[in-house]
């Protein structure tokens, strides 16, 4: 078998393993086996490629692989689970950088000889790749709080962004017609880098689940485009799988907020809406605050408790304390479940990973549709650092910015206990009538401290 034939077979088998691996992710039971399959596929594809007939020197290849592996091992071992959204954003940047550089190298080598089909692919590749590099780095900086997490807006922002995007597409089309226009190609790369920054600048931290999914999709599509450029089937397949995954996740996240993708990217979420009820009107004299002892008395007799974690739980690193509280409640005969909203946290599935890290069995983590009918039979709904995803206004007020967003129906529980540092609004910028409801008790404290206090009070009760 010649080298080329071996590579093609290796790619075919690797593609099959990738698809089977992702299929195994449909259940937590089979997921690890699936990843083993995907890893095998990756190893096979890399080894196969080393037999490529054009490779003459392994010096830079080996050095690069060693350095990359070392960085990868470091990141994988030392990233805390709470920092998973940042790690993911950073990895989108790495992936997109690799793709962009391969594209630039291809253009540098062939430039004017490129046919229109290859030029279409290469233009798409570097454009999507470059904007994903800077967009992901911006997302990383926001999530890591190197820069402010709130959205940065200025006058004419949407108009200038749309204009810049139009310019990018214009240059891309021109290059397809005139591939030899070298300076324009590099201008395309440069402008796409700028566009990535501007695009994520105006997106608030709570919209990160959508943005990360979208960047995931872009990185995948850019990789797929590379496959067209260098006529490499496995790049097309793997890149498209990644692109499809990011796309499906962005749609799911948008649906979970009842917003369109356009609204997330260009909408005005986070700017306090005019005309809605003010915080004073909603809260004035109606908010009841409770002590740890009072809440412990309620928990002591509760049969069914549902814990609702939000980003506040991740910020205060309360997941281990929450686990201890759940075990304590169960040892007293209560039934404990966790209600997870799809956009709770900063990336898809963020809360599930944190709770799994704290050794909470995954069969206790309930999705929104599964848990919502159960709230009416729930004695206590314990909300930890969540706000907009439990705001009943989404069901009742059609003019609210979160109107129609599917929420967790915690207000239907017999008693709602909300652990929160203050009455400050969530990302949507609106007051939450849940906090002033008759059956709600507020416990104003940092998430972790509050849970530890509750545990102590419950043990004393």
């Amino acid at each position: 078998m010649t080298g080329t034939a071996f590579i093609q077979w290796a790619y075919l088998v690797a593609s099959i393993l990738f698809i089977l691996g992702l299929k195994d992710l449909n259940s937590a039971r089979t997921a690890r086996r699936g990843m083993f399959l995907a890893e095998t596929g990756m190893a096979l594809a890399i080894v196969g490629t080393l037999f490529h007939h054009e490779i003459i020197s392994y010096q830079w290849i080996v050095t690069g692989m060693v350095i990359g592996s070392a960085i990868g091992i470091g990141i994988a071992l030392w990233t805390p689970m709470t920092a998973m959204p940042q790690r993911t954003a950073l990895s989108h940047a790495f992936g997109a950088l690799a793709v962009t550089l391969v594209g630039v190298s291809e253009y540098h080598r062939h430039g004017s000889e490129l046919g229109s089909i290859k030029m279409t692919a290469i233009g798409f590749e570097v454009m999507m790749g470059a904007l994903t590099v800077t967009g992901s780095l911006m997302a990383f900086a926001k999530l890591q709080e190197l820069i402010t997490g709130s959205l940065i807006t200025y006058r004419g922002q949407n108009a200038s962004n749309v204009a810049l995007f139009g310019l990018l597409v214009g240059i891309w089309f021109y290059l397809i017609a005139v591939p030899a226009a070298g300076p324009l190609f590099y201008l395309l790369v440069g402008l796409a880098l700028v566009f990535g920054i501007l695009l994520v600048l105006r997106i608030g931290a709570a919209d990160m689940p959508v943005v990360i999914s979208l960047l995931n999709s872009y990185a995948g599509l850019a990789a797929a485009a590379t496959g067209f450029v260098i006529s490499n089937t496995i790049l097309i397949i793997a890149g498209t799988l990644d692109g499809a995954s990011g796309f499906v996740l962005s749609i799911l996240m948008c649906r979970a907020m009842n917003r369109s993708l356009t609204n997330v990217l260009f909408g005005g979420m986070g700017i306090a809406p005019a005309g809605g009820p003010t915080a004073d009107q909603v809260y004035g004299g109606k908010v009841k605050s409770a002590t740890a002892e009072e809440i412990a008395l309620l928990l002591d007799t509760a049969r069914r408790v549902v814990i609702v974690p939000g980003y506040g739980m991740a910020v205060s690193q309360a997941q281990h304390a929450v686990r201890d509280l759940a075990i304590l409640l169960e040892s007293r005969g209560a039934e404990v479940a966790f209600a997870i909203h799809p956009v709770a946290g900063r990336m898809p599935g963020h809360m599930n990973v944190l709770l799994a890290e704290a050794d909470i069995p995954y069969d206790k983590l309930k999705e929104m549709d599964e848990i919502n009918p159960a709230f009416e039979q729930t004695d206590i709904a314990l909300v930890i650092g969540a706000n907009d995803v439990v705001n009943p206004v989404a069901r009742t007020d059609l003019s609210s910015p979160i109107a129609g967003m599917p929420i967790l129906d915690v207000d239907k529980a017999k008693t709602v206990v909300v652990i929160k540092r203050s009455l400050s609004p969530g990302f949507a910028g609106i007051p939450n009538p849940l906090f002033a409801a008759d059956n709600t008790l507020m416990y104003f404290a940092d998430g972790k401290k509050a849970i530890l206090d509750l545990i102590a009070a419950l043990k004393a009760a």
Partner: protein
């Protein structure tokens, strides 16, 4: 032209397969899913390897080298961290 159509066919079919397979992943595993697909799309390392190792000139060698480093970071880091996460997902032993 023929090769382009063949590649386009592969792309369209992969998009359908991806959509169907990914739609069945439960929200529970969405974070591992994202890091897994990210690792898989780091298959772009194969393009980077050829760019870095072939006799394409200094510019290509340098660009390829940096691309190998970044893609390899995702291959190794992505799969390791996915496994680290998946290891944490356990079923309740006491209940059933």
């Amino acid at each position: 032209m023929d090769i382009s159509i063949a590649l386009l066919t592969i792309f369209v079919l992969a998009a359908f397969v991806g959509y169907l397979v990914i739609s069945r992943v439960p929200p529970l595993l969405h974070t591992p899913l994202m890091s897994a697909t990210n690792a898989i799309s780091a298959i772009s390392v194969v393009g980077a390897l050829v760019t870095a190792g072939s006799d394409y000139g200094t510019v290509s060698t340098i660009l390829g080298f940096i691309a190998v480093v970044s893609a390899m970071t995702n291959v190794v880091g992505g799969f390791l961290i996915t496994d680290r996460m998946l290891k944490m997902f356990k079923k309740d032993k006491h209940r059933r």
